[in-house]
Symmetry: C3
Subunit: 313 residues, 3 copies
């Protein structure tokens, strides 16, 4: 999330009751989680295992639970509970705004766009021109929809990230990382019925121009797809995945988190993708591998009895 305008880091120290160590005159431009940080950002870390990753990341300001050495040009905000500090900042800049009607007055809707009955459009949503939004669609706050977009019935745009702070020494193990990111749907995208697209935790989930999605597709937080992709029904893509242009995922494919799929890759139906895939090739099976080789494995399995007979008599 970017702040509306840069904010003095001293203001955050006061707001959080934090000890400010390092350059005290900086301006923070946003807050992001570690996978998405940029220069000028705040980030938080509460486990020594991740101290280094955060201190060495692009982030300029680190909310941390120990006064460690400050890298040059950065500053620390030392607090007891960095995760609570993160939530406090997110809630300040993205306060909960109750909806007073199904389509918010703060939404901007372009010319020639048609909303069917029973649609929900949250606050600060932007929808471009010549879109069709089918019945019972939900578009949550701050999402951005381009031009010529079709969203079919029952689909949800901007559900919260499935992303939790985990500690097993308390009664409730998982605490929600409240999402302050958005979903951005580019022009000429078409989304089928019953899909769910999560907003980024702190950044954007983005569906590239001209991409077409069938029904019941799940897209996780912070995932970015390229242009002209084609996803068949019941595909599931986890969080923070980067998908190139022209990628085709056939029905019921599952894609694990924080990986990359190259341009024009094709993944055949029901395959599982646990690791990054190069572009320009067809993949199959679990783990998804070169489709021809993987299909040959199915043939090899059928030859085991013959082999057994030969060897074992």
């Amino acid at each position: 999330m970017q702040f509306p305008s840069p904010v003095a880091i001293q203001w955050f120290a006061d707001f959080l009751g934090a000890e400010l160590i390092g350059d005290k005159n900086g301006l923070a431009t946003g807050i992001n989680e570690i996978h998405k940080v940029e220069k000028g950002d705040l980030v938080f870390v509460d486990h020594p295992k991740y101290y280094d990753t955060c201190l060495q990341s692009a982030a300029t300001f680190i909310i941390i639970n120990k006064a460690v050495e400050v890298p040059a040009g950065k500053a620390l905000l030392v607090v007891d509970q960095p995760f609570e500090a993160y939530l406090k900042i997110v809630r300040h800049f993205r306060p909960f705004e109750p909806a007073t009607k199904p389509v918010s007055d703060t939404a901007t809707i372009g010319a020639g766009t048609y909303l069917y009955p029973n649609v929900f459009v949250g606050h600060h949503v932007t929808i471009g021109s010549n879109c069709v939004i089918h019945p019972n669609v939900t578009i949550m706050d701050h999402c951005v929809i381009g031009n010529n977009v079709i969203i079919q019935a029952g689909t949800v745009i901007g559900s919260d990230a499935f992303y939790y702070n985990t500690k097993k020494d308390r009664e409730v193990w998982y605490r929600k990382m409240e999402s302050c990111g958005r979903v951005v749907i580019e022009d000429d995208v078409e989304i089928g019925a019953g899909c769910t697209i999560d907003r980024g935790v702190s950044h954007d989930t983005r569906i590239g121009k001209g991409t077409k999605m069938d029904n019941m597709i799940h897209i996780g937080h912070d995932t970015v797809t390229g242009k002209n992709c084609l996803f068949a029904a019941q595909v599931g893509i986890a969080g923070a995945v980067e998908i190139g242009n022209g990628v085709i995922l056939w029905g019921q494919v599952g894609v694990s988190k924080t990986l990359t799929i190259g341009d024009n890759a094709i993944v055949l139906a029901q395959s599982g993708v646990p690791a990054s895939l190069e572009g320009g090739k067809a993949y199959f099976g679990y783990p998804a591998e070169d489709a021809l080789l993987k299909k040959k494995e199915l043939v090899w399995i059928k030859r085991i009895p013959e082999l057994w007979k030969k060897v074992m008599g």
Copy 2:
């Protein structure tokens, strides 16, 4: 799609600005895509690879981008952009009708049928008697629901086909084949929550009498199921599939497009069906094969280490 009444082919030539070659006095009764054409239909073709298939199909009138030889008793409508001509005809006979209320006044709803709040029922929908339609269900224009049908919450009937005209030499590769078909749900069908059933591209998607579907099932365009089928949760069936009577698909089964499954076939959970299956047998795995044989493969895989030890020492 059948036209309300037969239309002179000369009218289409004028409407499209097409050159009419062959029998100029014919009457067109409908328009369909190539998988579903019948005598009297218009069909379109824009790639030489498919010219023959279309010219030799049941269709009487071929919208085509080249003046080829006309088969006896047929006529050609020659235009530069056959796909655009198809869209123009579909939009003329199925013009977009904005919904003015959640349940259209043009819908017909039978005696004893109960609609929960937050249901959407589009124009020209027919719902039979003694049905229960749960909250947040969407039934799009022109769909037909029989008697004694239950549709549970959040389900979408009549979403558009996932069917595109593809050309990779333009900025947006995929252009929607606008659907003018319907979904027809026969008597005594029950559909779970969160399902999506796509309408036919130009024909009907049909769910046979007495079929019961669990939650989150996807049925593609133009798919036809028989009577008394049972589909468990999260099954996905692609487009133009023909499923017999009494077929059972267990949870998360995926069925590929344009294939046939025979009467009383059973497909075990999570299997993938890439090719047609004979009736009366149980199937398992990917590709779905005789369940007993396929389960034996799992046992054979476990014997490889023993074989290895014997052979490799």
Copy 3:
């Protein structure tokens, strides 16, 4: 289902026109299907194959289609059609109550709970305090939601069980076992968008305290999950499953019916669980087995060609 207060078994005999055999003075406290019966319950059985199971079950009153020997302290209600008798009782104690508005006046909603627009809340629903119910959510009659619960858009709580009485000698093979159970969501549970949670046939489906569910998850009737579970997107769990505390199911996992998964088990993505799993271990594949062993099988498959070459020359 428990009755509001105990009911004389003689009343049921009169209500059903049944022959009452055995102790005629008993009081029935509820009615349940065979997987969930308790002392004081009615149960029904219509196939000789299951007579013994029902007669020996915890149920005190057996609705049956034959006058068999009565176990000590029990009674039989003999009728021609036990299934019809079951339906008659369920409909008497859980009569269909049409909804007159999107949020029923008979629902109880706690302090600090926020309902977005387009939510449906049925009769006799209880929602605790500090919950957030997103747009287009459906909560059907009699369900119970705890405190601090988040339910994201389009999710359905309390859809009917997918549970049928099957007879293939009639025109419609499957007849719905009408559900009279509930869904109970405990405190601090979070449920993603587009999920469906079926009510119990006659008992409760229950999601344990602190459990977090991603999008598009299906939970079958009478399934009970422990505390602090984590279910990733597109997981499907069939009916009457018992899941322990701290269980993690990754994306697209499928779990078959009436089995048990022990505390802190982890099932990796896309795995299928056809049989019970011990707690404290990681599982993978179909059938889900020890993850390390199962992943080794993938390596062994790749060695078949080498083995073949060695053996076959």
